[in-house]
Subunit: 347 residues, 4 copies
């Protein structure tokens, strides 16, 4: 299997450029075949010195470029629905960054479009599922040694929020990671959400409700609580404790080096998610490339993308009303959770 | 100051007997002068070989016994109101185990009785305020280095609950410790409470809503969440993380010895609160003896006892209704938070 | 047993004054009966407001003062031999700070004097044996769960050394704690010692060989290594790892509060031994008072004091010569390791 | 740079097969061009389903196979000298597993052969230099924030030793990793070695001196101590603490998940080096492939391979004699530590 998978990368911003670098220099078995961005200069910069990559300003042109066998969507969320449907129309396997589609109605259209194809084509970029710690936790929970999970206590902290970050975005952008992680770890849908607003931190921009405390209930009767604090000032900290019937397991407190000097024993805290989850991104893309070359889709799918959008929407309503808000999910179309492509690449 | 403070211990059950032992053999500056219990045999057993201790079956007789200068109340909660009022009537300083008085109406009567005396006589047995970890956390928060506290995340786990433990007791017995600790750490009253009931653990007795997830709001806009899980099966685990504007601090994860053997690196978890808080009990009683010999009351007082009862009552209503429940505190009588006794012992 | 043990404290320096405070206000069952120091002013300062304490400038006068039933020796090491022999002559039980007697010849004379008495009178102040962490480690090793101990890795660090601290004192003052701890933990005598001198730290005073790396061999074939670094600059850090046939156990890495703020997650390191071992000192003296009131001696004895001096002397020779140096212990006189006093106090 | 580097893998044992898998499926930018092993069946098994790989039984045939542009040597150590010289003769860049050459005389011949070429061709497989924790420690030490390093305390433990493991192999196979790591972390040569033999563990095979305690001195006056214990029974544990003038830093105590259940809070310990250092191996080979494609050699070189062999030889003598043994290094030939290849691949 020494031939390289040709990938079109849509979007050449921060995340897209990072994926171009990853596909070229980190991941085995793939090559960048095309890059598309409305800003051609930005696309060229992302390509850098990589040979044989054609740059496009239109999504469709990139998808139709010679050698393109798969698509990685890293454009802004509002552009995802169109890009996904275009990829589906061509039968191209896709890795789509989160949010799959920001509004749940659009997300549902994507689910239905894939259902009509009768086979899975899309993997959604919930990279925490590829983080070593989360995988160990998932494996521990699935193994059953600790009994049934009853509660998840989650913490999600950023040094500071980007400009124009809104109170709603603490829920639908930051907490969306915990929404997917909770669904995946528990294997359950989230059914209701409540948001508490502590008095905002002096370190938060005026008008931003930061931190927030978000509570989810699940179809199996578990409770998931999330502290989200995007201007905590000191680091990027993601923690999760799963409390089960016979024990609890905590991740996100990893340390690799303890430095004792004046002031005490200290462990460094990573400053951003690209550091904390660097390995997870690498594994995610490697895993997608490996599966795609074998004609398979193995990661989180469009239903996961839709559910995350629907829960986040309910969360924003809960934030605005202060009330416990049920989550209404559409009926789930019959999609195999992990299926063979009908048309493998090599035939 | 070499004369020993003569203490009457009311109640010779598990806790009372432990205090008798502590006053005799651990604490400096005190001696057991009398022990009262309706069951005289039990009182005698608690006294053991300690010389010069008279045993009584009536509270009043014990308080009036020769050499009694102070009272330690360790009888069941329902007997506390009468015992406190009897001590007040005699001007005797008191250390009263929690709950001060289980129902908030009775607790308020005690507050008012002490207010009428015009001086403080009673210290309530919230021993966590004397735990080294809690004191370091309090000192850190008061120092202001981390800015204003925004949230407290608390965990309170027991191996198993005693027989006849009810769902309400998770709130008004177990969580009452966190109620006082939160009020003390934040220096704020709690204003509302919500209780979530995850599906009960298979390890809990039938009918017991265990675990519960209890949320408090404070007058200053902070949020306090408490996981209470009294049949967790593996140990007595009390943790608290204070999330502030400029950092967070966690206690309750102390380790003193790491054993690496087949199966991994392991730290022991204490199995009950008498182990975890042994030093706190010693410091509490020593501190009370020291202050009393100097004619002072320095620890948590009757208002703290009342507030804990009032919040716990609201919590039980919240548990029963599933709704967010405001806490209605009576107006606080003018009581000095730390005052000299009007009638010091030695004059 | 409500009568208080009358204790004469010899030496009113830093350590003596601390013991006076401890006997008066912390320990149960004892009172300060006399204080002796060549500097009468210093002795008066140590007594402070404690009533009924007579101050002396002569050891013998203090021992003969009315109400003196036991002696706590906290004078400089050179004065210990005379004080111990004076206490023995009067049949008074003694708690003697370390070093028992700095030179091993003098130490042996004390051992022999006690042997001639035919009963134990002296406990030597190796307070680590009363530290909670060390006791857990001792208990784990004695329990046998990890098999036979093969190695001890020890670290002993101080912020900075006092003036006039010499290279030899790293061995015979600092490491003497590890010498006793190793003998006690392993239940074996140390048979040889080697000292390596890394290039001195820039933070050490000119001429001081700091840090040093000290290696002991034991009669049972174990190896004990000690890093001693008395100008490490950042804190007082005492660690010990026992490596056994079936696992290892580490102490001295306790943490009670983790503070995460700008710069990382941090645990405080205590700055001196009175903080780190405060509880151990309290327990040591309480334990000595309790045993003495029962007419017993239960702690480390004169043979332990002698062995520590003899090993430390060999260590200083090893430091000076750079060579592996055997430890020559005198034959051990027949002394019961824990015996009843022939003349209990109350008869 | 989308053309893949063709690599001949010499040796198809455990390690060679692992590298074949890594080059094919993990590392970006390389492909397996040939595999050589005296046992052709074993070579075929290692290749598995990878297309286009020719299998050889002779080293020279593999090196001369079409498409071979670089060599990865994973055959037994005794075969390394011949393989390295054959690669040098063809101007092929090499990644050679440790030990480079087991005996120091042979190792020196390799150094001299490369020196005669006038350019670097070989990287030696000291994979710890690519471990994230070791790199952070190296970076901290080089940054100078903690001052000059004075001591390294190292621990190297294996669950159990393979059959036929000898006492000498604890030094020249196990500790050889610490020898390289110490040289690299400190940037200093090791000048003397002493080996202490504690009484062997009951868990070690009869006749094996396990554990051992190995002490190195460096040209800069630092001390490096290594506990090596290859039948510790519970896991693969590699730790290192660097003690510097202004603080200490510890690695190897990383935890990623803390599980609290009956028995305490537990962290898993990896069971073997392929788990603990999996990422290091991946990074090592990726880094070598990247550098090679750019015509460079950037990792540890033949001098590092030689020095490790020379120090290990002195260590084995020290083990046998019980005496402090100086290390005699040959004069170092003039080799650039990181140089451009004279003949880049693409010209």
């Amino acid at each position: 299997m020494s031939e390289l998978l040709g990938v079109a990368v849509l979007g050449a911003g921060h995340m897209g450029a990072d994926h171009v670098r990853r596909l070229d220099g980190v991941v085995s078995g793939a090559r960048v075949a095309a890059v598309a961005d409305p800003d051609a200069e930005r696309a060229k910069e992302a390509v850098g010195g990589i040979g044989g990559v054609v740059v496009h300003t239109e999504v469709e042109a990139a998808l139709d470029a010679p050698g393109v066998e798969a698509v990685l969507i890293a454009s802004p969320g509002e552009a995802h629905e169109e890009a996904l449907l275009a990829a589906f129309a061509r039968g191209l396997p896709v890795l789509c960054e989160k949010p799959m589609v920001p509004d749940s109605a659009g997300a549902l259209r994507v689910v239905e479009a894939e259902a009509r194809l009768g086979r899975r084509l899309a993997q959604i970029g919930f990279m925490r599922r590829y983080d070593a710690e989360y995988r160990r936790l998932k494996s521990l929970l699935d193994g059953g040694r600790l009994g049934r999970p009853l509660m998840l206590h989650c913490v999600h902290r950023n040094v500071s929020s980007p400009p124009h970050f809104t109170s709603a975005m603490l829920v639908n952008s930051s907490v969306s990671h915990e929404i997917d992680a909770a669904r995946w770890l528990l294997g359950q849908e989230l059914t209701a959400v409540t948001v508490l607003r502590p008095r905002p931190s002096a370190g938060a921009p005026a008008g931003l409700s930061d931190p927030q405390f978000v509570l989810f209930e699940t179809e199996g009767g578990a409770v998931v609580d999330v502290e989200v604090f995007v201007n905590c000032g000191f680091g990027y900290e993601v923690r999760c404790e799963a409390v089960c019937e016979a024990g609890s397991a905590r991740i996100g407190q990893a340390h690799t080096m303890v430095v004792t000097a004046a002031g005490g024993a200290r462990e460094e805290v990573p400053q951003d998610y690209l550091v904390r989850f660097a390995d997870a991104y690498d594994r995610e893309v490697q895993s997608w490339v490996d599966a795609t070359r074998r004609g398979r889709v193995t990661g989180p799918g469009t239903w996961d993308g839709y559910a995350a959008s629907a829960v986040a929407e309910a969360g924003v309503r809960a934030l605005e009303t202060g009330a416990r808000t049920p989550v209404d999910l559409a009926p789930r179309p019959a999609l195999p959770t992990s299926s063979w492509n009908k048309r493998p690449r090599n035939t």
